[in-house]
Symmetry: C2
């Protein structure tokens, strides 16, 4: 049974950081797979009304990725970055850039923690270049997209 929306988002006042915590009702290895398998990314990443197409997604240390999200009006939003560290089944450290704001890159840490055979806690920390960049992203409505992504991920994890 999927959890209800339990995403916790913190944006410390002094540092250009967003910290996210979220529990998932699935074992560690399965949650890690959902974050790193290019075939699964379009199943959950992004708000529900967008269609995601993975251009490349080579989830290994030293690899890179790019994906494009399209809304019902045909507008496209593309994102890309490189994978600094991919260590199954717990850790991904990667860069992230929205191509609509070129040159504004963030560094993202994901750490998955096993809470037993059927529950996994995700710790996600994103570091932005400036407080303005961080605050602008929050103002853009990232929270709704993030919560929707996590609910879609719940659904994916509950299938199969």
């Amino acid at each position: 049974m999927p959890t209800t929306d339990s995403t916790i988002i913190k944006a410390p006042e002094a540092l250009p950081v967003i910290e996210i915590t979220r529990d998932f009702e699935a074992p560690l290895a399965r949650v890690f797979q959902a974050f790193t398998d290019p075939d699964l990314i379009p199943e959950w990443l992004g708000p529900r009304e967008l269609t995601t197409v993975v251009d490349r997604f080579d989830a290994r240390s030293g690899g890179s990725y790019r994906y494009v999200q399209r809304d019902p009006d045909g507008n496209e939003y593309a994102f890309h970055g490189c994978f600094h560290t991919v260590e199954a089944p717990t850790t991904v450290i990667q860069t992230w850039e929205f191509e609509g704001y070129p040159g504004e890159v963030s560094l993202e840490y994901m750490h998955l923690e096993s809470l037993g055979d059927t529950r996994t806690r995700g710790h996600f920390t994103s570091h932005y270049r400036t407080l303005e960049a961080r605050n602008g992203l929050i103002a853009s409505g990232m929270e709704r997209g993030l919560r929707d992504s996590h609910l879609r991920l719940d659904e994916l994890l509950a299938r199969a």
Copy 2:
């Protein structure tokens, strides 16, 4: 004629950032090459008493790098990261990790600015995960290594 040591280092109190500015007596394209050509990296990167061996250095967007520095006693210091953006002749955005502090990754921006046919200004900004990580790096003596690197780079640029 190489410049004398003109490296300017700033560490703002409130943000985990190091900002470096340095002028080089060479044209833009030549300075960019010194930062991105794996054959030139060992000629200048790091303090003079260390020997640098490039393990891999694929300086393109989505590429990655690793190099190892050895001191006269045989101690080795290894560093690696991925290249988020490489745009000749002005821009590199990359991650950086000293393997002696695994998991502590920084995001580094390099922007080169032409000051005419024979002079180039380098703007380098490194973003650390925490103030503690930034301050620890400064306490470790990175400044001396950085100034020595830039003096060695002056020498390289003055040759040929």
